[in-house]
Structure formats: structure tokens, C-alpha cells
Amino acid sequence: MIRAATPSDESWEAAAAFVRARYRSSDRIVAAPAWVDPIVRSQLGDLLSLRMAAPPDPAGIERVWELSIRGASSRDEPAVLEQDFDGVRVRLWSTPSDELIYDFVDEIAAAEVELVDANGSRICPWRAAQQARGGLETGPMTPRERFVCDARRPWLWVGATVLSDLELQARRCIWQHPAGPGPVRVTFADVPLGDRILVRGGIDYQAERRRVHAPVTLRVWINERLAAELVHQDGDGWAGLEIDTREAGSEPATVRFETTADNPDAGLFCWSASSVRGRKPMVDAERRLDGATHE
């Protein structure tokens, strides 16, 4: 009775082998209940990119695998495939979403980053730098290579990382802490545009949960035109907007992201953007992803 039923290692391994044999790179793998996620990742984590493990938006996810125990479920719809492995249930859903044609987070190394203040603009160099020590309440991990804007302000860097959002969900994103009213500017050249750009942003859980910090503004410029402005207030959680790019033409564009804040203290802001071409209405795709990532 005390050893309430949980599956054996053999059950987990058999379920993982079943998924592994059928896995595609556009598949996402989720766990139910959420607390078995480390076990699922220990079995299948080598298949998962950071984007698939910490999806900032649903673009590019064509199927969702779920490994679940104890009758838990991450979604209600009938699965297209279901098999039980002595306590571990494997289910598969087809979730055709927008085609991902450009992931800004993946391309960050190719961007140009500059810091603008009263003294003008200066380029932030891309360099290998010492990583943060890690630990509780230290914010997202600094990547080994990143844009370093000011050595005296170690938080003033730009690079790809994973944020713990207000719901403690993992979000792969670009760290772009605002420096103040003057923008931190990240420019991507030759960006292929589809139907829309999905923009998401959020602040680190440990900072945002207290809801006492100033808002952070993210402005998105496409070919020097202001295309959107996302004002992130504490409490918004991982949130965003969509930019319709159908009228921007078929030529690759220059897309710029600027973060500002009147008071940059604890503006542990991280954003993501995906240039997508729609396969289905976005609302449906969003709903499917939400179902896949939350209990």
C-alpha cells in the first residue's frame, strides 16, 4: 500500500523504445503527470532540442507524444495512437501547426547587437565569456557565447537561453535585459518572412512573481518600420503578439528588436520570435500546444 504503484524501469524503457523508433524531429514529447518529466527526459531527452523541450510557441510542432502514468493526461482529445507498457501509457496526437521558417533564437549568433544611450550607439561584441555559476534566484544561465554589452554590468548581455516563466515553464528565448530608456537593439538581416512573426516574452519567475518591478517594452521593427510593441507588465507571464507579415513582401527583411525600461532594475526579460507560414488558423494551433504542455 505504501509503495503506491509506479511503473518499473523496464516499463519506462519499453515505452521509450517504442517512441524512439517512431520519433521525428518535429515531434514534441510531454509527460503526465508533470512530475514524471525528469524520468521521461532521462529516457528520451537526447532526442529533444532545446526548442522542443522549452517551446516558446507552437510553431513547427507536428505531433505530440505523451508518456503518462497513473491515469494522468495532458489533453482530452482522442489520440491517433495509444499503447500501454505495463503502467506507462504512450499516446500520440497529430498537431499540424504553423511551418517554422525562421527561429530568431536559433539565429541569434548572426544578429548585430548594439547598446544605445546618451553617448550614442556602441556595438556589443559576440564572444565566448565565462558562464554564470548557476543557482536559485540567479536567473537564466548565460550561454557560453553571447553578446557582451558592458562588462561592468554583467547582466547586460544578449544570447540564447532558457527562461523559467511565471508558471515555471521552460521557454527557450533570447535574453535581452533592458539597460534603461535607451534601447538594447538586436538586428537580424535577411530574415525570410512568411505569414506572421510570433513574438513572445516574459520575465524570470523569481523576479516577476513579486510583481513589483517596472514594465519592459519590446519594440519590433521590420525594414525600419515599427511593426509591433509589446509592453510586458509583471504578472503577464509568458505572453506575446503576432505580427502579420503578408504585406511585407517576399524579399528577406531586416528585423530589429529593442528593449527599453524606464527603470531597468530586475528586468530579467527574455523574448522569442518565430517567422511562420500558416497551415491552420493560429487559434487552433495555440490551443493544441497549450493542451500538450500543461497538465
Binding site: I2, P38, L48, R133, M141, D204
Partner: protein, 544 residues
């Protein structure tokens, strides 16, 4: 007003056997538990105290100067000194005489001794007012609570304060019938004050109880009413003992006392998961201490304590119902009920800082066990178990049956004490489903020691997450971790990264993903199938 049985030598023999038996059990199982986060702080403080004690003997003229005292006692100034002194003396004894098989046991021994003495005390108090079977049942019911068993191992203050709170309540209760207990009450309260701030509520509990019995006596028309002599004893001797045992207060006394009190009244809030919500600021739900008690104490003991309250309801009657010329007594059950409820209610108050862990209301559980003993005896007597076949074994068999769930759960909880939940919660997986706190203090790293040693046969480094470097060093000194496997300050530079699973540690999990570019733990330590620690391996180290 002596309504208690005098304890015999046989009673104390049983109490001593309980004490020694439990102590041996704790010693035998201690090496399974790595040092916890708070223990590592207290060990550091105790070592500092030990150097001051040494200075007292080697250079007494300077030892009492402010500079020496401040240097030795500034660290961990927010906790009184009695247990830290005890840890220090035990460690000094170990260094001089080699008393213990390892260093951590030297620090833990005073806490373990407190646990053993508490069993003796529970038995003694129980045997003063009830049949010996009941008293023995109470002591064993307390000993076999899984969380009590875990905390009884530690060089911390939670079991010691449970002992001193119970001792103070016992001395107060004795003083009501015998003035000779007056200095002992003051001394025990002083030691409670000098152990932990849970003791602050005792005068309030006693005052309510005292008013209760005074009204009782007045309405009964008794002339020999209980004296309030206990109060000056506590209020005069208690603070003197606190100050006398805490050198930090010997200089700048008023300001430092105020800082100590203020620290705990404005305590930081811990992040605590309860029923699926991660609380980090008040109010914590009122139900927390009650539901956590329901989920961590065996159901048989809880049911018997309720039955005990029901069975003794006559002694719990409000004093305004007392009839003239009615017999009165010390209302022991009222005192026990007060001592049981007060810590739970205090934590439940919306204004209380967020603590969450059962250790913060462990002082309630000796009284819970004593009330359960009344329930046990009520069943034995109502069912006339002792009369079956003219033998006593049916009573003992029933006692064993009632103690079995707690004992089995306790055995199963080790060495994951804080992760354990009883069958009421659905066990460990059930509690995970419900979103209950899974652990704190990082002590579960001890369960990984063998795996780490095997994984890094040529040495290496480990980023230890919630396990402090002090706790890691103690594991090395105890021989659990090879000396060539060091604790790393940098996650990215470490060969292995540990992540203790609590929701607010999610960010640490994600940090490891970025540091190593992989979301795949190389190992997941599980308890009843529930993840406790994920271990990530640095790909650079894996290639070596």
C-alpha cells in the same frame, strides 16, 4: 492537588530503555542521511563555539572580551546557543576521545539524545496519569512518526525544542501540585528559550490553562487553589538562563535581544509547495499544518488521538460548567490539548511567516501521542481486551497493530524522511500528484553518494544544488564521498550537476540545460518512483 501516580524505579527503567534503544537506532541509521542544509550552518556555528570554549580554558582573560565573543558568536547570531554549545562540547569530546565513528555523528549526538530523552519524558508523564501500557504506547507512537524519526537524527533544534517544550510543560504541571518544582520549571523554560523561539508561546498556553483550572477550583468552592508561582519562575529564571548560556548577549544585550526577536517576527518566507501551489509570501492556507499532519502521521495514531479526546471529554469541559463541590484536578488533558494545538494554530495564522515544514510544529506531536494513548486505553478498556483468556497479550497485540502503520511507514521513509507521505496522501506518488512539497535542505544527496563515487572513479567535481558545500565537506569527512570529488561553485565547470526537485528549482533545471546543451539527465534518483534528484553530466566530462 496531587492527581498523579508516583513514578517507580521500574517506570524510569522503562523510560531509560526507550531512550537508549531509540538512541542506538538513530546512531545505527544516521550514516544513511547526508548532512542537511541547516545542519551545515549549525556545524559551522558549533565549531566557532568550540574554539571559544577552548579559548575559555586556554586564555580566559581574553575569552570574555567583546572582541573574542563577537568573533566566535556572530555567525548564526539569530539562534540561541544551548544546542550549538551541546554540539560543540560533543565535537570537542569526539576530538579528544574519539567518541564517535565519524564527525557528523559527533555533532548529531546531542540532538539524538534529546530525542531519546523525549521518549523517556513522554513515557514518564504518561505513566504519571495513565496505565503503563498507555504511556509506552505514547512514547512509541511518537518515535514511529516518520518525520520525527528523520528530524531526530539531525544536529538541529527541532527535536531538542520538542523535548524542552515538553519538559517545561511537565515541570509546570508538576509545579501546580508541588512547589519544589519551581526552580526546575524556570530552568527548563530557560533551556527551551535557549534552544529555539518555539518556546515563546509557552507562558501564554500555561496562562490559559491556569485560568481554566482556577475558575474550575473557584466554582467548585475549593480553598486550596493553584498558585501562580509558576509565572515568576518562568519569567525570571527563564531569561536569565537564555542570557547566561548565550555569550552573544553578554555585550550590548538589549539591542541584540531585540534584533533576535525582530529577526523571527519578520522572518523571511520560504517557498513552499502545497496542494499544487507554490507559496512564497503569506498567507499560507490555514489548513497547512493540519493537512500536513494528516499526511505525515499514521492514521491509526491520529484516529486514536481523536478517540482519546472524545474519551476524556469530561476533563475537557469548560470551567463554567463546574458544579459546586465537584472534584477538581490539574486538567492534564486541557494542558496537553493546548500544547498540541498552539503550534499548529500559530503556523496556520495568516500573518505567520511561511515555513511549511512539519518540523516547525513538531512540538505538538508529543502531546498528540499522549492523547492517542488515551484513545488506545479507551479501546483496550471498552473492548475489555485485557480480560480475554485472562491474559494481557490481546492489549499488547492491539498496541502493536496500532503502532505497525507508523513503524512500517517510518522504516520505509528512511532515508527520504522529508519526501515521505503516508497512505492517506496516496504515498509518495500520491503526494506528488497532489502537488505537495517533495523535500528541502538538500540532504537527499546522501542517497546519491555511491552513484557519484562510482561515476567519477578518478575524481571530479559536482555542482551540488541545495546541498551546501559545508554539507558536502562533511560527507567527505564521513567517508561517504571520496576526497577527490569536490563541490564546484560553477555549474558549467562541473562534471556533474545535481538538481533537487522542488518546483521553484525549475530554473536550476533549465540552467543545467543551457550549461550542457542537453535536457537529458544521466540519472534520476527516485523514491517510490518519484524523482528526487536529477543528475546532468557535463558532455566535456563524459568524453574524458
Amino acid at each position: 492537588m496531587n492527581d498523579a501516580r508516583t513514578l517507580s524505579a521500574r517506570d524510569h527503567l522503562i523510560g531509560a530503555a526507550l531512550c537508549v534503544g531509540y538512541l542506538l537506532l538513530l546512531i545505527a541509521t544516521a550514516s544513511d542521511l547526508a548532512m542537511s542544509r541547516d545542519e551545515s550552518f549549525y556545524v559551522h556555528a558549533a565549531k566557532s563555539s568550540a574554539s571559544w570554549i577552548t579559548q575559555v580554558f586556554t586564555d580566559p582573560s581574553s575569552a570574555f572580551e567583546r572582541e573574542s565573543i563577537d568573533r566566535a558568536w556572530r555567525y548564526n547570531w539569530e539562534h540561541p546557543a544551548w544546542m550549538k554549545l551541546s554540539f560543540a562540547w560533543s565535537w570537542i569530546g569526539h576530538k579528544q576521545l574519539g567518541l564517535f565513528p565519524n564527525e557528523s555523528l559527533a555533532f548529531r549526538f546531542p540532538g539524538m539524545l534529546s530525542a531519546g530523552l523525549l521518549l523517556w519524558l513522554i513515557y514518564a508523564w504518561g505513566a504519571s496519569v495513565m496505565r503503563r501500557e498507555g504511556a509506552l504506547f505514547a512514547a512509541l507512537a511518537f518515535a514511529s512518526m516518520p518525520r520525527v524519526f528523520y528530524h531526530s537524527h539531525l544536529a538541529c533544534f527541532d527535536i531538542p525544542i520538542a523535548f524542552f517544550v515538553t519538559l517545561t510543560a511537565y515541570a509546570y504541571w508538576r509545579l501546580l501540585a508541588d512547589y519544589r518544582w519551581m526552580p526546575w520549571l524556570g530552568l527548563s523554560f530557560g533551556l527551551a528559550l535557549a534552544t529555539k523561539h518555539n518556546s515563546w508561546i509557552l507562558p501564554g498556553i500555561f496562562l490559559i490553562h491556569f485560568i481554566w483550572i482556577r475558575i474550575d477550583q473557584r466554582r467548585a468552592g475549593r480553598s486550596d487553589r493553584a498558585s501562580i508561582a509558576w509565572l515568576p519562575s518562568m519569567l525570571l529564571i527563564g531569561p536569565l538562563v537564555l542570557i547566561a548560556t548565550w555569550p552573544w548577549l553578554w555585550h550590548d544585550t538589549g539591542r541584540r535581544l531585540l534584533a533576535y526577536v525582530t529577526f523571527h517576527l519578520r522572518h523571511v518566507h520560504y517557498t513552499y509547495q502545497y496542494l499544487g501551489i507554490n507559496y512564497f509570501e503569506p498567507p499560507l492556507p490555514i489548513s497547512v499544518p493540519f493537512v500536513m499532519t494528516l499526511f505525515t502521521v499514521s492514521l491509526s495514531v491520529l484516529a486514536l488521538s481523536l478517540l482519546g479526546l472524545y474519551d476524556r471529554r469530561a476533563t475537557l469541559r469548560p470551567p463554567w460548567l463546574t458544579q459546586a463541590n465537584a472534584a477538581t484536578n490539574r486538567r492534564t488533558e486541557v494542558l496537553w490539548l493546548g500544547c498540541m494545538l498552539a503550534p499548529l494554530v500559530l503556523i496556520a495564522l495568516p500573518s505567520s511567516p511561511i515555513f511549511g515544514g512539519t518540523k516547525h510544529w513538531l512540538t505538538a506531536y508529543p502531546f498528540l501521542a499522549l492523547l492517542a494513548a488515551w484513545g488506545f486505553l479507551a479501546v483496550v478498556e471498552r473492548a475489555e481486551l485485557s480480560f480475554w483468556l485472562g491474559r494481557r497479550w490481546p492489549s499488547w497485540a492491539f498496541a502493536l497493530l496500532c503502532l505497525l502503520p507508523g513503524s512500517v511507514e517510518t522504516a520505509h521513509s528512511h532515508p527520504f524522511g522529508l519526501s515521505h507521505y503516508t497512505a492517506v496522501a496516496g504515498g509518495v506518488p500520491g503526494a506528488a500528484d497532489l502537488g505537495m512539497n517533495r523535500q528541502f535542505w538538500g540532504f537527499t544527496t546522501g542517497s546519491l553518494a555511491d552513484w557519484i563515487a562510482e561515476k567519477l572513479p578518478n575524481g571530479g567535481s559536482v555542482w551540488t544544488c541545495d546541498t551546501t558545500h559545508g554539507a558536502w565537506a562533511m560527507m567527505q569527512r564521513d567517508g561517504l564521498i571520496p576526497p577527490n570529488i569536490r563541490a564546484s561553485a560553477s555549474m558549467a565547470a562541473a562534471d556533474l550537476v545535481l538538481v533537487h526537485h522542488e518546483p521553484h528549482f525549475a530554473e536550476v533545471d533549465y540552467q543545467a540545460w543551457v550549461a550542457f546543451g542537453s535536457v537529458q539527465p544521466v540519472y534520476v534518483l527516485r523514491y517510490d518512483g518519484v524523482p528526487i534528484i536529477s543528475v546532468y553530466e557535463n558532455p566535456r566530462a563524459a568524453g574524458r
